[in-house]
């Protein structure tokens, strides 16, 4: 009866369609996109650094955050049961979804039961992950994104490219163009000042907020001992959705739990400074089931696995479940800055996406992502919960399927390098073999370098000269001492 149930990988928008290097190529060539990303990531890096540097106990907060999350992972089944009991006692209805499709089905059915044919949405990675908007649309239910960046992406018929700011790849002029094209009520002389664009979004959504009957949200945190959900936001669109409609459906990944309300004292210090570079975000909402006379009276929570159990099953990769979706790792990543978020092919881009997406789907389905990093370590330094992203990247590379030619080359190199005798002979051979060519290049160009080589070495020589072996190896010099 108690046969073990295997952890399962997930579905939804977490799979690369093209290998990362291929998907990155057009992005790298898009100078406008590069400029937008450069400007935005530099801005946020500076803001984050300023507000983190002023906190004397930042490292202690990171240590606490990391440990709390490790404790949550260790006790996840019991904490989920505790959350369910607390939330249910407070008047919420808790649902469970094995995967993206099941989660979508639950939300569609709950919405249909209210008779509504539209929902307003708070920005939520979980609902992007499970492709909820598409599922709602297929069921004849219109989903309106209300976060400014999500609204821009939705109106632009695009997909998010950043965890915190899904429209980071657009600049103000491009956003104005989208608004003018897709908002019927927008003034003809709309300026591209951010304040004017924010005002346009306010006017566009105001009626919808005041008349909405069903809202869909995610949650930044779910408190096990009280059954409380927490949403952190800036614009007030979250408050509108969480407060005014009669029905509220929150889609929450099972990893979002915190054991106690007190643990928020750590995470509500770590998150805003890491994400928007503010001492505190403008609005944080907390609700526990139903509060009579205040806010939605029909409250649902959908707890989603969708691959998280598979992440949990890997003791080395498990800390990826500690992620609080702050985006600090994206903002400092030199690869993200050049490639942009779409190249990662998943709603989770950047360094955290490069470890999370392959674990959610199984590495074989996202095999290029663990290699989408130079292992420079900037992500680990800024991670508020100290996820050792480089270590997990290297770990996942061990599981990735390897190209045949690469495997053969690596095997031969290992065979040579494991033997001091073979290695010394190989060095002699390389030096001698390259000798005439090196001497020729030295005479011709003044340097022992090559400028153009056929594939696969062309990947190097397309942008850099390649040094040839020296006329004398170090060990030969040493031998003559």
């Amino acid at each position: 009866m108690n046969r073990p149930v295997a952890p399962a990988t997930g579905g939804g928008r977490i799979r690369t369609r093209l290998p990362f290097p291929t998907a990155a190529r057009p992005a790298v060539a898009d100078t406008q996109l590069r400029a937008n990303l450069h400007r935005a990531t530099r801005t946020i890096r500076g803001k984050r650094a300023r507000v983190v540097d002023e906190v004397p106990d930042w490292e202690a907060l990171r240590d606490a955050g990391s440990a709390i999350k490790a404790d949550v992972q260790r006790r996840l089944p019991e904490l989920l049961e505790q959350f369910e009991a607390s939330a249910t006692a407070a008047g919420a209805t808790v649902h469970w979804a094995r995967d993206a499709a099941e989660a979508c089905r639950i939300v569609v059915e709950l919405t249909r039961a209210t008779g509504a044919d539209e929902v307003v949405k708070v920005k939520s990675m979980a609902t992007q992950e499970i492709e909820l908007n598409e599922a709602l649309e297929a069921a004849g239910i219109a989903a309106y994104e209300t976060d400014l960046a999500e609204l821009i992406v939705q109106l632009g018929d695009d997909t998010p490219s950043h965890i915190l700011v899904p429209a980071i790849h657009y600049n103000r002029a491009q956003i104005r163009e989208i608004f003018q094209r897709r908002m019927p009520d927008v003034p003809a002389d709309l300026s591209d000042e951010p304040s004017a664009l924010a005002e346009a979004a306010r006017a566009h959504l105001r009626r919808r907020f005041l008349s909405a009957r069903v809202a869909v949200s995610g949650a930044n945190f779910a408190i096990a001992d009280t059954g409380t959900l927490v949403v952190v936001e800036s614009e007030g669109n979250g408050r509108m959705c969480l407060t005014l409609p009669e029905t509220l459906i929150s889609v929450v990944g099972v990893e979002k739990l915190l054991p106690t309300f007190t643990d928020l004292e750590v995470f509500l210090q770590l998150l805003p400074r890491s994400s928007t570079g503010e001492r505190m975000n403008p609005y944080t909402s907390m609700w526990t089931g139903v509060t009579p006379g205040d806010g939605p009276q029909d409250v649902h929570v959908v707890l989603v696995d969708n691959g998280r159990s598979a992440v949990l099953a890997d003791p080395v990769g498990r800390p990826a479940l500690s992620c609080i979706r702050c985006s600090a790792c994206l903002n400092v990543c030199p690869v993200y800055e050049r490639a942009g978020g779409h190249a990662y092919g998943s709603v989770y881009p950047g360094p955290i996406g490069a470890i999370l997406s392959p674990q959610l789907t199984g590495v074989a389905d996202n095999a290029s992502l663990p290699y989408a990093s130079t292992l420079c370590g900037a992500c680990y330094d800024v991670c508020p919960v100290k996820i050792n992203i480089p270590e997990i990247l290297v770990h996942l590379r061990q599981q990735a399927p390897h190209p045949l030619a690469e495997r053969a080359t690596m095997g031969v190199l290992s065979w040579v390098m494991r033997s001091p005798r073979r290695w010394a002979a190989a060095l002699r051979l390389a030096r001698a073999g390259a000798g005439p060519l090196g001497a020729y290049r030295q005479r011709r160009t003044g340097a022992r370098t090559l400028r153009r080589l056929p594939w696969p070495a062309s990947a190097w020589t397309r942008s850099r000269d390649l040094p040839l072996p020296a006329p004398q190896t170090f060990r030969e010099w040493w031998g003559k001492q």
Binding site: A60, A70, A198, E235, T243, F261
Partner: protein, 207 residues
């Protein structure tokens, strides 16, 4: 038991238990971070932070009549202290029976108190306690005037949590509504109240 329907709940919990087959060791959470503020004048820090968010700070309950003089339609929670409204020339709307969203949208301002305020982060916390009302009340009107007593101000966030009931619906407010969604630059004024005004009562900087 062949044929028994396994619920999603049971299956997910079973998957997670299997995933933890390595039996990770217990975790001791190091709480070496500051839990009590050590800076001398938390009210002054609160003012600095609020102004950084472009909230407007007024000192002393005596500032209220001047603020309310320009308000034609003012929403208030049922239990608003009577002395806050002294000299308010406009129409006062108590939230009982509850004002509809459209009613709230027609207000010029809402006046409430708060539960606690956090100096270091410039955060005003409302938990539907005395003089605060329900959440929609402070959300829909475009201007929120909030009275904060000096004895409600704590230095750090951990101090604030001990004063709150976790199960009460809470709204934490740190400045007027804002967005960083355009080029990651912050601009104030989106869906929530675009004007946040704090009236500080008592303490070192006000009367």
């Amino acid at each position: 038991m062949v044929g028994e329907a396994v619920t999603a709940r049971d299956e997910i919990l079973a998957r997670l238990r299997t995933a933890l087959a390595d039996d990770p060791p217990p975790v001791e959470v190091p709480r070496r971070y500051r839990r009590v503020g050590d800076r001398p004048d938390p009210v002054a820090i609160l003012v600095d932070r609020l102004e950084d968010y472009r909230a407007v700070v007024h000192h002393g309950i005596g500032a209220l009549p001047g603020l309310l003089a320009e308000v034609g339609r003012l929403a208030v929670p049922v239990d608003v202290p009577a002395d806050w409204l002294a000299g308010c020339p406009g129409q006062v709307y108590r939230d009982a029976p509850p004002l509809s969203p459209a009613d709230l949208d027609a207000m010029d301002a809402v006046l409430t108190g708060c539960a606690v305020a956090v100096a270091e982060t410039g955060t005003i916390i409302l938990d539907a306690g005395p003089a605060q009302g329900r959440r929609a009340l402070t959300l829909v009107p475009d201007r929120h005037i909030c009275v904060v007593r000096a004895d409600q101000v704590v230095g750090l966030l951990p101090e604030a949590l001990t004063r709150l009931d976790p199960r009460a619906a809470q709204t934490w407010i740190s400045g007027p509504s804002a967005t960083s969604d355009i080029e990651l630059n912050r601009v104030e004024g989106v869906h929530g109240p675009r004007r946040l005004e704090i009236v500080l009562v008592g303490g070192t900087s006000g009367a």
